[in-house]
Symmetry: C2
Subunit: 383 residues, 2 copies
């Protein structure tokens, strides 16, 4: 591939930016009641904010995402940002029309304040002194970024999985700032099974002797534990059908006479690769904090009922679920849909037929792309 | 509970027995071509073999089972054998009528030859020198036990999960010895997703520094890794619905202000308990070998087609699947059913409505009990 192809329909070379606030602390009081600061948020922007400042879209990422949603950080980078298939000139989040912002989250490990950041009180990494954070805390921090960018109202907030949770919380916490929302493959609260999978991943990290109660910075990190956690995650992000179509029972190595417990099946090789790749870019403590934020997310518990939760929301919604998503099944979206409609909100809902499970939103899915594109066009024209 | 209640409908106090064969080695050539011996199989029997020797039923256990299927080993033991709800006077496997045998498997760790047994060649535990074993090897070893007990034809072979795989292999490998079979919640080959979950469990064990390439006997075993493996297993044995009904999102500890990553939800507490309990009774290397045997099980690969696999089978079948079993879904049973019917075999099939998932066969399930009871009665009357 030459560079011309690489940058076709791409936002091209981009740079992560950083916004710091809350110094001295106090500007952000967490849901737990604790104060956190200074807080840095990593973010990227693509396209241009128009004069009316009414074309800004906030992209929110899932558990393992980052601010780098589109384009390339350098000519050497081979893989573009995580949602490059959806963000760029002529793409659903059309950077020729919209000003697209992707904000990282607090608790993360890719430029924003999280457990691997330096705690100003001790001049050492926070590790487990980092406070418990919730999805609402992530959103409250992003609010400061959006105001810093001079935006009073977002054309849309959009994201899949935990990104969808952030989108929901944006519509609830800042109703007057959100014109529309695109929550994808998400939930008002994950299931007991979802908590169970998260917990097994956490146990795998905590049981790794390199974890050292979180104080591993400067020494070898708990890579083995984090890698197993990621493998568990990957199984849940894909449908049984997708695994079958893609890997089936294909052997990597057709003999089975040696008991060395190395890779025998293709699916194993795939999981090992995903686990190994992940530990190079992610911090184990962030994995613990963020999965906990997902577990704790519970709009019904926070507001009494889902109907109450969405009472004051002003946004119009494009709600997407995937038929083979067993981690955030369609029923979870339909439950929210019902609460939104009971409140008389405008909702377009699509339960998209796919064999690829939860992670469909990251794939080149034409139907999903068309839904987003049309919805945004219609919302923008209402300005 | 007083002892009268405890032993009501129970086979009472029982003792595990041991049968050793293959010394000098050579009596058992494994599917891999390697010779293994001497081989000990742990087993228990309940009831009495009749004069015609036509009332013997062989019970086959799942991944983590043992020979101890019914009754108590002592008056101090609080929990009876693993299938006590199904085996005993007046129960489906009625010990007043039938002679019930439960055989352990090679590769196991509860009395039969496995990786923790002493390798006569080195006088040390086999560890990873133990050869690769398959489900067919388990069955071929059990064949020696059944002949040793003087039984030429089994009234039935029965088991759930990997026990069902053994039952299927019994009907194929020794067609003239098996009058009927009761495979429950099983498969002719597990899915890529099933292999994936097994592999994550294995990786968790292998990554535990106490595993030491399998040479941990005499030192601290890889309990952390085995415990995580067991937790993953437990999630897959239960349905999402069952987890929801039983645990929901109930908090163990209603505060979330401290980031200690201890137990917050009931489901976590349950998983921790299951993991901790398991490491006291199971060997990590056995877990590796047995899950590999499950992964490798593939009747279609072994016989070209499933129809070929069952061509010479003489048994009548009671085939059971559970509507909420997502690890061994009903479709897997239906696939076998089709192959059996194409061969003109007699099959009763029940896809039992349940909310409890794969592990339903271990629960006090009246419908399942009635199916087994009636089927055995009818098969026995045909004698």
């Amino acid at each position: 591939m030459n560079d011309n192809d690489k940058y076709k329909n791409s936002v091209g070379i981009v740079e992560t930016q950083y916004f710091t606030f809350g110094d001295p602390p106090g500007e952000l009081i967490l849901i737990s009641g604790k104060k956190l600061g200074p807080i840095t948020l990593a973010y990227e922007t693509y396209g241009t904010l128009n004069e009316k400042k009414d074309n800004a879209i906030l992209i929110l990422h899932a558990l393992s995402g980052s601010a780098h949603a589109a384009g390339y950080h350098s000519t050497e980078e081979n893989n573009p940002g995580w949602w490059d298939l959806y963000i760029g000139p002529g793409k659903p989040f059309d950077t020729e029309k919209y000003f697209v912002i992707c904000s990282n989250i607090i608790g993360g490990c890719t430029g924003s304040t999280g457990p691997c950041s330096i705690n100003p009180a001790t001049e050492k990494p926070y590790a487990l002194d980092f406070p418990v954070i919730t999805v609402n805390d992530m959103v409250n921090a992003q609010y400061h970024l959006i105001r810093h960018l001079g935006i009073e109202r977002l054309l849309s907030v959009a994201g899949g999985s935990m990104g969808g949770m952030q989108a929901l919380s944006w519509t609830i916490l800042y109703p007057e700032m959100v014109k529309s929302a695109i929550p994808i493959a998400t939930s008002a609260r994950i299931s007991a099974q979802g908590i169970a999978f998260n917990e097994v991943g956490r146990q795998s990290i905590i049981n790794d002797p390199n974890w050292k109660s979180g104080n591993y910075y400067g020494s070898w990190p708990p890579d083995s534990g984090l890698s197993v956690a990621r493998m568990i995650g990957h199984i849940t992000y894909l449908s049984e059908r997708h695994l079958h179509e893609r890997f089936g029972r294909k052997f990597q190595n057709p003999k089975y006479t040696e008991a060395d417990f190395r890779t025998e099946f293709m699916i194993e090789s795939y999981l090992h690769y995903q686990g190994a790749k992940f530990v190079n870019r992610f911090d184990a403590n962030s994995y613990l904090y963020i999965t906990r934020a997902i577990d704790f997310y519970d709009l019904e518990k926070d507001y009494g009922t889902l109907i109450n939760a969405f009472e004051h929301v002003q946004a119009n919604f494009l709600f997407i679920s995937f038929t083979t998503d067993w981690l955030y099944p369609s029923a979870m979206s339909k439950e929210i849909l019902k609460a939104l409609r009971s409140n008389g909100k405008n909702v377009i809902y699509a339960d998209i037929e796919t064999e690829s499970g939860h992670d469909t939103f990251l794939l080149d899915h034409k139907v999903l792309q068309r839904y987003i594109s049309n919805f945004l066009k219609s919302e923008f024209e209402k300005n």
